[in-house]
């Protein structure tokens, strides 16, 4: 059994037939080939799958594809125009905010949401704001620096 849904992803409208049990992250990765959104756990702890759904960050492994029906989604691939970098992407590069890069798309999408809520965040704001995103490589400090630097750059 499948269910028809319509979603707008990175500005592009899609009409799809999906299994009711399909998760949004699998819709993005398997159906739309947007593989920048990663799966890092089964329990919505790691945040590697974070995307923006209707303006707020969401862990796309916790959202059923059918729940996104009618919604607008931005993934890491849609964060900036092709060939350019969003200030957060640029800042992660400049500040060495990543190593293996696996958590990075989710970390950046959470950072986008964080900066919307805290345009001038303190270290503590960032550490708490990224509580739902796990990174095993960086020890987080360069990620904090990146988010701070992006906030400064946006002023």
């Amino acid at each position: 059994m499948t269910v028809p849904i319509s979603v707008t992803v990175n500005g592009r409208a899609h009409e799809l037939e999906v299994e009711p049990r399909m998760l949004l992250v699998h819709l993005l990765r398997e159906e739309l080939n947007l593989t920048g959104t990663h799966v890092g756990c089964d329990t919505s702890q790691c945040g590697a799958c974070t995307v923006i759904v209707d303006g707020s960050s969401a862990k796309s492994c916790t959202v059923l594809a059918v729940q996104a029906d009618g919604g607008s989604i931005t993934t890491i691939e849609g964060l900036s125009a092709e060939g350019e970098m969003h200030p957060l992407q640029q800042a992660f590069w400049d500040e060495h905010g990543l190593q293996c890069g696996y958590c990075t798309p989710g970390m950046i999408m959470s950072g986008v949401d964080l900066l919307e809520r805290h345009p001038d965040p303190s270290d503590d704001d960032i550490r708490r704001g990224l509580d739902g995103n796990l990174c095993r490589c960086t020890g987080y400090e360069h990620i904090i620096n990146a988010v701070k630097s992006a906030a400064g750059g946006a002023e």
């Binding site: 920048g36 990663h38 329990t43 550490r127 095993r136 020890g139 400090e141």
Partner: protein, 791 residues
């Protein structure tokens, strides 16, 4: 601030990573991102009991499901492939990719489903019926070592994998026989102070953020197998896959695309990899398997799990006269590639940074019904340094000495290098006291102590911790892993347009090889970094290799690249000399020019020489056209980085929660190629070491053998809010064993941070009669100690 890449003198600069643009845009290419035409998906039926005999398996319901192409039991797979290999010289029990008869840990594969999509494959695996006659779960390694409550492998009496491996003073290094106990006995009999403590470096789950995964594509007709794998070492994977499949190495290509972290856990070739390759060959279609996180917890190798009974003898002035470690390693149910070797590294660390005349380590490795252990970041060195650095603090406490002073009086002195420990390890270089002084100054140690005392006077529970580590890095030489070899391979090709393609057998999975290697070569060749591409992670493009582990990529891989680059330069000098009508020996490389040393700009352009090398009219005598060279390089010994970590913690009296308030570190990894990347490695290492101290512990239920900590909900890897800003610095003591004077930095943070934090916690609770606390330092444990109870 970071610097843009500019030609010349890039080594030592904070160059931004070339890997990052693709990764921050979500354009990386990890194994799970790939789809091949006609690809099928695997799911594994796994044991939900820890120990038992498989009586029957019913796969009929799974086979009947639409979209299921094939179901294989372990017994059926065992007809296609033999048991998996190990790379250690100890006898090992048979370990099948999918178990044919018995289960020995929760999560062990029992059968594999091949289906048209991954969810369908998982559904089908769920309906496989398995009847298992349960046996008692063997969980406690000290009971297990007496065969209690069961024996896991019949051929290994009392579950002893390595029954007794002594090392150190009085042990014949050839026969491993204890020949003379007198020095050891004398040291303890004559000691003013003896510190004795049972300690535990608990079992950890590596948890790279990217789980394991594999795509195997066998091409019938060509009889070639290509495997895309989340491996740290594609060439070792290639060799092992070829051996198990009975294929030639020339028929197997392993590609490690972007790999999302490894920390040692992706050194191994796992059962799922062998099964995927064998199945693809059997059915002639590509197959894919991607691990989910609960599988990663249950069935990717674990780390640590070593009990240490530590005895330390010292004079009243704090001079250590002997250290003895009796080590019991719980290695889990089987031996993987390096399982049996890792605990031997604990014994190698017994002297730490101290000039200790008498040492003895005795190691026993025990099978239990748990996931096998193997290399996890630090791999043996964290356990050894933790045991020793805890004991040093206990000695300081016993003598009422400052922890800095008790270390200072025992340091190996700079004029003692190269230094051979009583256990036979040869340290390359070190200057410990200078680094200690730097750390004390940076921390404001005296002020820290005064502040701690003032806080205590207010009733707060504050403690300071210190650790001083060294570690074994830059693995080889080959003698250290005689079944595999521990050299590295590199190639450098200058194309006819003057651009450079260089390859390394070291295989990055987050370390930034594409950047540091290019920095190094840009300086060596005198050309812009952007003119150099670094190829790694593909046995089809990189002719040979060993891989990335044991903090060896820059030391061994980097040196191999420099050797290959040197050979290419020698050849370019021959062509350039002919063009310039001069002698090759007089020529140097700078700013894209090759010319007389100091006047390179008067010579000929690098690109012009490259072009000439491919159309050499006339060809210089005794010279082949073209510019492509390769090199194998193997170090003569290990490198030994070192450092000191000073921490401050405060424990909440009401909740037992521990806050890490300061982290002051000084590291010495020799010369630094890219300080930005080195800082990142230290940060990440610290985070994992803090994780061991504070939040991570893999727990198996004593009765059922179930893994109780099998998700991020029950096993917490540290989060951003668990850390203060790191206050880091470094000294530079180059290694004499390689031309760049580098030592390796991948594991340092993990090794030094754990003992520093536990030392701080014990210091904090010293007023509550606490002399030692086993990790992890969960709030409940600390709260009970504050209440005067047992942990």
């Amino acid at each position: 601030m970071t610097m843009q890449a500019t030609p010349g003198q890039l080594v030592g600069q904070r160059v931004r990573r070339r890997e990052d643009p693709r990764l921050v845009k979500g354009r990386g290419s990890y194994v799970d991102d790939m789809k091949l035409p006609g690809m099928l998906h695997l799911a594994f039926k796994r044991s939900d009991v820890a120990h038992g005999i498989i009586r029957s398996i019913d796969t009929s319901a799974a086979e009947a499901m639409p979209g299921v192409e094939l179901v294989l039991t372990g017994a059926q797979l065992a007809e296609i492939i033999p048991p998996m290999p190990v790379a250690t010289p100890f006898p090992a029990p048979d370990h099948h990719a999918v178990t044919p008869d018995r289960v020995r840990y929760v999560g062990e594969p029992i059968a594999v489903v091949v289906a048209t999509d991954r969810f369908l494959a998982a559904d089908a695996a769920d309906v496989i019926e398995v009847d298992i006659e349960e046996l008692p779960a063997v969980i406690d390694p000290e009971r297990a070592a007496n065969g209690d409550p069961a024996v896991i492998h019949e051929a290994f009496e009392n579950n002893l994998a390595v029954p007794f491996a002594p090392a150190g003073t009085g042990v014949n290094p050839e026969t491993l026989e204890v020949e003379d106990e007198s020095a050891l006995n004398e040291a303890f009999e004559n000691a003013d102070v003896v510190v004795s403590q049972r300690m535990f470096s608990q079992r950890l789950v590596p948890n790279a953020m990217e789980p394991r995964g594999v795509i195997a594509r066998f091409e019938p007709g060509n009889d070639e197998l290509t495997v895309w794998s989340t491996t740290q070492n594609p060439h070792i994977a290639r060799t092992l896959l070829a051996a198990i499949l009975g294929m030639g190495q020339h028929q197997v290509r392993v590609i490690a695309p972007d790999v999302g972290g490894g920390f040692g856990s992706k050194i191994n070739v796992y059962g799922e990899d062998f099964a995927a390759a064998a199945i693809s060959r059997d059915i002639g279609r590509p197959v894919k398997w991607i691990e989910d996180r609960s599988e990663a917890f249950m069935t990717t190798i674990h780390g640590r799990d070593v009990i240490g009974y530590i005895d330390l003898a010292a004079t009243g002035e704090g001079k250590v006269t002997a250290v003895k470690m009796r080590l019991i390693a719980d290695i889990g149910a089987y031996e993987m590639v390096l399982t049996a070797a890792i605990p031997t590294l604990v014994a190698f660390m017994i002297s730490g940074v101290y000039d200790i005349p008498v040492v003895r380590a005795e190691l026993t490795e025990v099978f239990t019904n748990k996931m096998p252990t193997d290399a996890y970041r630090g791999a043996g060195r964290p356990e050894g340094i933790y045991f020793l650095e805890r004991a040093m603090d206990m000695l300081a406490s016993e003598l009422g000495m400052d922890p800095a002073d008790v270390r200072r009086v025992n340091f190996i002195q700079p004029d003692q290098f190269p230094y051979t420990t009583a256990g036979g390890m040869v340290y390359d270089s070190g200057e410990y006291e200078r680094l200690l002084d730097q750390a004390l100054e940076n921390a404001g140690w005296e002020q820290m102590k005064a502040d701690r005392d003032a806080a205590r006077a207010e009733g707060r529970i504050v403690g300071l911790g210190m650790s001083f580590y060294t570690e074994i890095c830059g693995f080889g030489p080959s003698a250290a892993m005689p079944t595999v070899g521990l050299w590295e391979h590199a190639s450098v090709s200058v194309e006819r347009d003057g651009k450079v393609r260089a390859s390394s057998g070291a295989s990055s999975h987050g370390q930034g090889h594409e950047t540091t290697f290019a920095q190094m070569l840009a300086d060596d060749l005198g050309i812009p970094m952007d003119d150099i591409s670094i190829i790694h992670g593909d046995t089809g493009q990189v002719r040979e290799g060993t891989g990335t582990f044991g903090s060896r990529s820059q030391v061994v891989g980097g040196t191999a690249l420099l050797m290959a680059s040197g050979k290419v330069k020698d050849k370019m000098r021959v062509f350039a000399a002919q063009m310039l009508e001069t002698q090759p020996g007089d020529l140097s490389f700078s700013d894209g020019m090759i010319g007389p040393t100091g006047q390179e700009d008067t010579g000929v352009a690098f690109a012009e020489v490259a072009g000439f090398a491919y159309i050499p009219i006339p060809l210089p005598p005794d010279t082949e056209p073209g510019l492509s060279e390769e090199a194998f390089w193997e170090p003569e010994g290990f490198t030994w980085p070192f450092g000191c970590y000073i921490t401050q913690v405060e424990i909440d009296r009401d909740t037992g929660e521990l806050e890490l308030q300061r982290f002051v570190g000084v590291d010495d990894c020799g010369n630094v190629i890219n300080p930005l990347i080195v800082a990142g490695q230290i940060h990440g290492g610290i985070a994992q070491g803090v994780g061991q101290a504070l939040t991570e512990e893999a727990v198996y239920d004593e009765g059922s053998g179930q893994l109780l900590t099998a998700s991020f909900m029950d096993y917490q890897i540290p989060r951003a809010r668990d850390f203060p800003r790191f206050e880091l610095d470094h000294t530079v003591t180059p290694s004499p064993l390689n031309p760049m004077g580098v030592k390796g930095i991948g594991e340092a943070g993990t090794i030094g941070s754990t003992p520093s934090i536990v030392n701080a916690a014990v210091d904090a609770l010293s007023g509550h009669g606490v002399e030692h606390i086993d990790m992890m330092l969960r709030p409940e444990k600390l709260w009970r100690l504050i209440q005067g109870g047992d942990a």
